[in-house]
């Protein structure tokens, strides 16, 4: 598998086919004796903006502390949760529990639900 071509920037979906962002980065473990291997998928936050320029990464980290959901930093998903890699990367997780939807929920709760007709993010 070509990691950059097949995994990086691919859309992530959870068990229920819910969109949970794109692969922003990959975390590798390089051991002294073992082969390097991927341990985690990273989603969003400073990881993503760092790819543009470290200054953007710092800005994103600073902004995340001032504003938005309490959990900040990139979301880490263990590589073992990857089910399939195709058009999308399918993960065996519950999107809400991972923190990948924190911003989505934050925008819904703080802005969209407060506007009449915005509906509620939680109800099915």
């Amino acid at each position: 598998m070509d990691l950059v071509r097949d995994v990086l920037d691919k859309k992530l979906i959870d068990r229920e086919e819910c969109e949970m962002g794109r692969v922003s980065g990959l975390l590798m473990h390089v051991g002294e004796t073992s082969q390097p291997r991927i341990t985690h998928i990273l989603i969003g936050g400073p990881t993503l903006w760092n790819r543009l320029h470290p200054a953007f990464g710092r800005m994103s980290a600073a902004l995340g502390k001032l504003w938005g959901p309490s959990r900040s930093g990139a979301v880490r998903i263990p590589w073992s949760r990857v089910e399939t890699v195709g058009k999308e990367v399918k993960l065996d997780v519950e999107a809400r529990e991972t923190g990948a939807l924190d911003w989505e929920i934050w925008f819904a709760k703080h802005i969209i639900e407060r506007i009449p007709g915005g509906g509620s993010e939680e109800e099915e």
């Binding site: 950059v4 071509r5 990086l8 920037d9 691919k10 859309k11 992530l12 819910c18 969109e19 949970m20 962002g21 794109r22 922003s24 993503l48 790819r51 543009l52 058009k87 911003w103 989505e104 929920i105 925008f107 819904a108 802005i111 969209i112 639900e113 506007i115 007709g117 915005g118 509906g119 509620s120 993010e121």
Partner: protein
């Protein structure tokens, strides 16, 4: 039958993306200044657009990826971000121009100036996105957009000299005012080949759940829809050439443009112009705002669908809410919509390579399209037109600024 109904997608894409404030203004100005002479630019723009729209529909039908999805995946985040900044800036200016166009249409009907309409109009556009579904927007806007057919009726009633019309389909140099001519040609190309249109159309194809069985109908929709828009733009130019040019009336402001159908359709011409402007710009405003929201959502992998309740795709809803409200601000302060229009159309030509080059690479990528990838005809038509627009923009924008 369901597939035939998809023609609405073609028509809204066309009315919204093609025949809107940009095309009406640039075509009317060209006709008023140069007669039929700039018809070739509309033809060239239409041709290029047919191919581009067909491609973005094909990409969506075959790969289930929108143009933006594929761009982010294939070219990575940093490149995607540069395109995002360029496209969104220009699309935002277009949105300001469209809202101005609606406001102007209401202004000539009521006598109350467009700055007063900016906020109500932007709220109305927002409300339609907030409450409406994709098919409501698609079908509603294309149905209302049919009023623009009055341009065609006017053009025919003025009995254009057909040999003059056909010979203007090939480019020629003007006797004087070369800088203005070049600038108008660039603006026409920019008004026709709007990149946001591809983002809208490919997202629409996903919203309407196309698969590869839609490829033949996609070709037909793209062709029919864009020819529809192209012919109407040409009609605007012809009407301006016949009704305004002989009188020496230039289209520097909207109230002047409003007179152009009063010769051909004495009774209804004025009102038809106002309503054409309102509906066409309304469709375009919806289309541009949604295209910007699609661009962000798809690029970042957020949940998006015009059919979901806003809170179910809060970031998508947030983007269009902010964008459409921000766009009202310059108008409230009385910025001249016609100036914004002309500038955003010319700048579109300038940013075309940024949007089109990566798209062409994608369209030739077997990973996404397999056996459905581009043939040499599509590749060459689009590349040639993009190069022409870019070079023309490079030459004529500075010339226009320095006053030729």
């Amino acid at each position: 039958m369901k597939k035939i109904l998809q023609l609405a997608l073609g028509i809204i894409t066309s009315v919204g993306g093609f025949l809107e404030v940009g095309s009406v203004t640039t075509a009317a100005q060209s006709g008023a200044l140069f007669g039929y002479q700039l018809l070739w630019a509309i033809l060239l723009g239409t041709l290029c657009l047919i191919f581009l729209v067909e491609m973005s529909g094909r990409l969506a039908a075959v790969s289930k990826h929108t143009v933006v999805d594929a761009m982010r995946e294939r070219f990575g985040f940093p490149f995607f971000f540069i395109v995002l900044v360029g496209i969104v800036l220009v699309a935002f200016m277009v949105l300001v121009a469209e809202l101005g166009g609606i406001g102007f249409g209401i202004q000539i009907l009521t006598g109350v100036g467009f700055p007063w309409w900016a906020v109500p109009v932007s709220l109305l556009v927002w409300l339609l996105m907030w409450k409406g579904t994709f098919s409501l927007i698609e079908n509603g806007a294309s149905l209302l957009g049919l009023v623009t057919l009055s341009f065609l009726v006017s053009a025919l009633k003025l009995h254009p000299d057909w040999s003059g019309v056909t010979s203007a389909l090939l480019p020629s140099m003007p006797g004087s005012d070369k800088a203005k001519y070049g600038f108008l040609a660039v603006s026409i190309l920019g008004a026709s080949i709007s990149p946001y249109l591809m983002y809208f159309y490919s997202s629409g194809a996903i919203e309407d759940e196309w698969d590869s069985s839609y490829i033949p109908i996609n070709r037909f929709i793209a062709g029919f829809g864009m020819i529809f828009g192209g012919v109407l733009s040409m009609a605007v130019l012809v009407v301006a050439a016949l009704a305004l040019q002989p009188k020496g009336i230039q289209v520097d402001t909207f109230p002047q443009a409003a007179l152009m159908m009063t010769t051909a359709l004495p009774r209804w011409g004025f009102y038809l112009f106002a309503f054409s402007m309102i509906f066409a710009c309304f469709g375009a405003a919806l289309e541009v705002s949604l295209a910007i929201a699609y661009f962000f959502s798809q690029g970042f992998g957020w949940r998006w669908s015009e059919d979901l309740e806003p809170s179910k795709n809060s970031r998508f809803a947030f983007v269009y809410t902010v964008i459409v409200l921000l766009a009202a601000i310059p108008l409230v302060f009385g910025i001249d919509p016609i100036k914004v229009t002309m500038m955003s159309m010319a700048l579109t030509s300038f940013t075309l390579p940024l949007a089109i080059v990566p798209f062409l690479l994608l369209m030739n990528d077997p990973i996404y399209l397999g056996k459905y990838r581009n043939g040499w005809i599509s590749n060459s038509v689009v590349s040639i037109v993009v190069v022409i627009s870019f070079v023309l923009a490079l030459i004529s924008i500075p010339l226009e600024i320095m006053g030729g």
